[in-house]
Amino acid sequence: MDLEKKRKIESIAALVFSTLAAFAGLFWLVFILGDVIIHGIGALKLSLFFNDPVPAGMAGGGLRHALVGQLMTTFFATLIGVPVGVLGGTFLAEYARRTKYARVISVLADIIVSVPSIVIGTFIYALLVRPLGHFSGWAGSVALSLIMIPVVLRTTEDMLSMVPWTLREAAFALGAPYYKVIIQVVYRGAATGILTGILLSIARVAGETAPLMFTSFNNNFFSWDMNRPIASLTVTIFQYAMGPYDDWHQQAWAASFVITVFILILTLLGRFVLKWRFKQ
């Protein structure tokens, strides 16, 4: 067989196999998404957003408790995670710039990003649930914030590093102290990038289940109280999907759909912000 023919066959084989692999991946992706959309929309009722659960086995009831719990847990996680992440990233990119110390923290943050989230959950269980003797919404928020922090920190660090150094020099040359240079000039240059990182980190934690099972646990009743166990869509999906009642299954589908759409919107918003930035 001559060389040219051999090359052609290899080329066709590579094309065929990579196309097959792509379709295999896409198939499951479309299948899962399609399944969630079809079942979810079918089960979606406006009453789900306004009603709390009814006793197990009875028809009706809703997911208001889980929706509110999810939003509260995510909101407080953001409130804790974003300042720590942004300030930490600022420290690494500005004050500790080019030091060995900063590089070590960056690498550690990268490692924590890939730690299974259930490990974070059990860690917070040992730290905030066991000693206090009960599950709580706060523990859930802290667990989620620990997942957010390394993501926000690394994004902030990268975005700040992309702001040209001459811009800082120009601000210094006007007689600005370093903190004003950072807040008023550098943050402005990096704002959209950091915002994208924050949105994507919220999207990342909004779908977490494992860390919440050990921390905020779940609650079948509506509650505002972050000191007590609080419901979340993700854990409720787990509970309802495993349960024996058809009504529960329907609600689990609806909840899956809602949370998927929520994350989709956050992700698209993040992309949109990034695009808008580079158009400028």
Binding site: T166, L167, R168, E169, A170, A171, F172, A173, L174, G175, A176, P177, K180, Q184, V185, R188, G189, Q280
Partner: protein
């Protein structure tokens, strides 16, 4: 001719990274309300010298000054000098335009706010005045809220000059301010430099010898970290004492 001395640089040595000897025993006077040009081939230390006047080197670790720069009877290289105050009195314009990521008006307001100007009316008035002083007002008066990055390179450079002028510095340092600009923008900046010296002292680093000859009153020729010759621009460019200076300005090396 009697001239007031703004700075006197005395036996200045400067080291980067602990031991890179970038300036070697530089001494020269900088005259008030005059334009002093620093010329010389790349790496000769002219920018390094310029950045000593507003202590820009202090942003980086492992630098060392030896010698003195006297400004109002004080050595500004001393450890206890308030750098924030010093830099608000000695402005700087960089090689590439450095507008901040904000509107035209806000760019200028930035320095004013640093100086504590809060009053809206005063801000507006001083922004306008600064833009007029930098010969940019007519071009931007109708788009003060536009993003500063939308301006052309030459306009950005004049905006940066306006920003520096707004805080009313006594000295302005120019680090090759036109090397990234087209000839027309360059001419505008040069014109501006000559106008500005009525009120402030200017030190300009340039690679362009015609530019030094056009705008400056005094010229210093530097080579390998040393100040080879310093004198009136006319003398340096027509009848220098030093052979190296002569070779450089006639284009035989550098």
């Amino acid at each position: 001719m009697t001239l007031n001395i703004e700075f006197s640089v005395k036996d200045l040595d400067f080291y980067y990274n602990g031991n890179v000897h970038a300036l070697k025993g530089v001494s020269l006077p900088i005259h008030r309300n005059q334009v002093t040009a620093l010329i010389g081939p790349s790496g000769c230390g002219k920018t390094t010298l310029l950045r000593c006047f507003n202590r820009m080197h202090d942003l980086y670790p492992r630098h060392r000054y030896e010698g003195e720069i006297i400004f109002e009877d004080r050595n500004i290289l001393a450890d206890d000098v308030d750098l924030i105050k010093l830099r608000s009195r000695i402005g700087m314009v960089f090689q590439k335009p450095t507008p901040f990521p904000m509107s035209i008006a806000e760019n200028i307001a930035y320095g004013l706010r640093l100086k504590g100007v809060r009053n809206k009316g005063e801000l507006t008035g001083r922004i306008e005045q600064a833009l007029k002083n930098a010969a940019l007002w007519e071009e931007v008066r109708n788009k003060m809220n536009a993003n500063a990055f939308d301006l052309s390179g030459g306009q950005q450079q004049r905006l940066v000059i306006a920003r520096a002028l707004a805080v009313e510095p006594e000295v302005l340092l120019f680090d090759e301010p036109t090397s990234a600009l087209d000839p027309i923008s360059t001419a505008k900046i040069e014109e501006l430099v000559v106008t500005l010296k009525k009120h402030i002292t200017i030190i300009i680093v340039t690679h362009n010898m015609q530019q030094a000859a056009r705008v400056s009153d005094m010229t210093g020729f530097m080579y390998l970290g040393e100040l080879i010759e310093f004198g009136s621009t006319e003398k340096i460019f027509t009848n220098p004492d030093n052979k190296q200076t002569d070779d450089y300005i006639t284009g035989r090396f550098g």
